[in-house]
């Protein structure tokens, strides 16, 4: 009776999964949030249950960080409604037709859109614990099969059929990411703001060097983007509350760094308020050296600027903060502490389109000056426009000042900025 029940469940499950259809022209899950569970009768005898679940949570999260898929552990739904079931067995296991071979050789198997079985006769170990087979590495590999990836004979690929002893901190490399994105597409989404954070450090010789890091923020999460590696930092996104002490947990609208010979001040804006950030102590100011208390109303600190704003940036060329709201741009003189003459102006006037009709026109998400590219970018939705700068105008003098080059997709410039399920955030 139990075998008949199991067969019926599995037949129903496969029928339901197939009826969800194909995505991106290939066979794949058609929904973006997938449930998983380590089945109760399939615990390993070698690690604690908590360790096993932690490792699987991490394995799923690693795929989530490079694809539009999200994974959530589901401990409550009926078993036949779980998308991916995992379990440890030996020899004949779970009514599976593929018997495990004992210690050595086969360590696990999995099925496309199906379940994962691990051979508990293998010596599975937690990450970075030396001898044995890394359960994390095996789990990431088998999840790749469940998502639709075959074996890949490429050094460095997680989908190689044979197990490679774990290097310290293995990760999904560029080609493995593209392989999964071939099936499910890249990661898209709007951003709350994007900025380069300037950091001053003193070398061993006493010299002050200036470094920067790029951050993308979306609501209450953020990513550090590693420009030289064309990816986000491993393990991101992180909660704004964790990395930016004192900022609203729901995120911010804009970031402005007023940087001149006499001024070096960082501001975050949200709603009708703004905060000044104390980078030396890595938290917002409650009260700065001038006696200003934060948060402070935008209308008080920047008279004439409406709120809330869409985004803003500081332009070192003219020492003005450009505030964007709707279709208008408010240029604010930091020195005069008031709006510039003629403000506000239409965005299309200050930043004319080079290609007719190719313009964000209003409701920008972010105005981002990149030190990597030495260029200003305007972001809206999944698109971005590069603002013509000095370099472009040197090559072609006819280009209007601050005009916008034709739009491109954000994911074509900044790669793999992917959400994870909220339950995976710490």
């Amino acid at each position: 009776e139990k075998q008949h029940h199991l067969q019926t469940l599995m037949r129903k499950t496969r029928r339901r999964k197939r009826s969800t259809g194909a995505l991106w022209g290939h066979a794949a899950f058609s929904k973006s949030v997938l449930t998983w569970r380590l089945i109760g009768e399939g615990y390993s005898s070698q690690l604690s249950v908590d360790e096993q679940r932690y490792i699987f949570r991490l394995a799923f999260r690693m795929w989530s960080e490079v694809s539009p898929l999200q994974f959530v552990e589901d401990l409550h739904s009926p078993l036949d409604e779980i998308d991916i079931r995992l379990g440890f067995g030996t020899g004949r296991h779970f009514g599976c037709s593929q018997r495990f071979d004992g210690a050595g050789r086969e360590f696990a198997h999995a099925w496309f859109l199906g379940d994962i079985h691990f051979d508990d006769d293998e010596h599975f170990t937690a990450p970075n614990t030396g001898n044995g087979i890394s359960l994390l590495k095996v789990a990431v590999h088998e999840i790749g099969h469940v998502l639709g990836l075959p074996h890949i004979y490429r050094s460095g690929s997680i989908m190689q059929p044979s197990y490679r002893p774990q290097d310290d901190g293995f990760e999904l490399d560029w080609l493995d990411r593209k392989a999964i994105q071939n099936l499910y597409g890249g990661c898209e989404g709007r951003f709350s703001t994007v900025f380069d954070w300037i950091r001053k450090e003193r070398t061993a010789y006493g010299e002050v060097v200036v470094r920067f890091n790029t951050y993308f923020m979306r609501n209450s999460w953020y990513w550090l983007y590693e420009n030289r590696s064309n990816r986000t930092r491993y393990g991101d996104p992180v909660s704004v509350q964790v990395g930016w002490h004192g900022l609203p947990s729901s995120g911010v609208d804009a970031y402005v760094h007023v940087w001149s010979h006499t001024t070096d001040e960082v501001y975050f804006f949200k709603g009708t308020q703004y905060w000044r950030y104390d980078s030396e102590n890595d938290q917002v100011f409650s009260e700065d050296a001038d006696g200003q208390r934060y948060p402070r109303l935008i209308s008080e600190g920047f008279p004439g600027v409406p709120s809330p704003i869409d985004t803003a940036y500081y332009d070192r060329r003219d020492a003005h903060i450009y505030f964007f709201r709707g279709s208008m741009v408010y240029r604010f003189s930091v020195q005069a502490n008031k709006l510039a003459a003629k403000s506000p102006q239409k965005m299309t006037e200050l930043f004319p389109a080079l290609t007719l009709g190719d313009h964000p026109t209003s409701n920008l998400d972010a105005a981002y000056f990149s030190y990597t590219h030495n260029t200003l970018f305007l972001l809206k939705g999944t698109s971005y426009w590069r603002v013509v700068g000095r370099r472009e105008r040197k090559m072609k003098r006819s280009l209007p000042y601050n005009s916008l080059l034709p739009s491109r997709e954000v994911q074509q410039q900044w790669f793999d900025i992917c959400d994870v399920h909220a339950s995976a955030l710490k």
Binding site: Q3, H4, L6, Q7, T8, M10, R11, R14, R15, R18, A27, S45, Q46, T90, G95, C96, S97, Q98, R99, F100, D101, G102, A103, G104, R105, E106, F107, A108, H109, A110, W111, F112, G114, D115, D119, D121, E122, H123, T129, G130, N131, G132, I133, V138, H141, E142, H145, G148, P150, H151, Y153, S155, P161, S162, Y163
Partner: protein
């Protein structure tokens, strides 16, 4: 318990009955190449069903291999596919392919490097699978037939050891009675 003495269990001992069979000669190498699809692509997806019978069970394949060696002639596996004697052209072709994709010297000979590679820990999913879309369509069609049998009170073709048919027949008779 599995016997161990170290705190981190790194010296856990396995009984010989729990050890995977090593690849030591061309017969076991042939089994390996057949199992992982190098001799013929495997219909892996169909093996997910508990009652799937399309992939040769390891024990029975081994028995057939022994039979082959003893009798010195080709034997058929339960799936009806013909096996290849060691060092047959198909075996050599499969061995060459395995060596190529594994980054080994492509010798076509079951040498020590190939033996080591075959005995490494690996995933149980075959390296060469039948086309997944084709497999899904075939299986879906088969299930549609079973569903049709339920709806229209037709009797499915009896298959040995097929519990699904029993289910179809039982539900058909129930509907007839109703």
């Amino acid at each position: 318990e599995k016997l161990f003495h170290s705190r981190d269990h790194s010296d856990v001992e396995m009984s010989s009955s729990h050890l995977a069979e090593l690849i030591t000669d061309t017969n076991t190498a042939q089994h390996f190449l057949f199992k992982y699809g190098f001799i013929k692509p495997v219909n892996w997806e169909s093996t997910q069903s508990p009652d799937a019978d399309t992939l040769t069970d390891a024990d029975i394949f081994s028995e057939d291999t022994v039979s082959l060696v003893q009798e010195g002639r080709l034997a058929s596996s339960r799936s009806g596919d013909s096996e290849n004697p060691p060092e047959s052209p198909d075996f050599v072709r499969a061995l060459l392919e395995f060596q190529r994709v594994s980054g080994l010297p492509v010798t076509g000979v079951f040498d020590d490097a190939t033996k080591v590679a075959m005995n490494k820990p690996r995933c149980g999913v075959p390296d060469k699978e039948e086309d997944q879309i084709e497999t899904m369509e075939t299986t879906t069609a088969a299930e549609d037939l079973n569903e049709s049998a339920e709806i229209f009170n037709t009797t499915a073709t009896p298959q040995s050891n097929n519990t699904d048919t029993d289910v179809v027949q039982n539900s058909t008779s129930d509907k007839t009675e109703t």
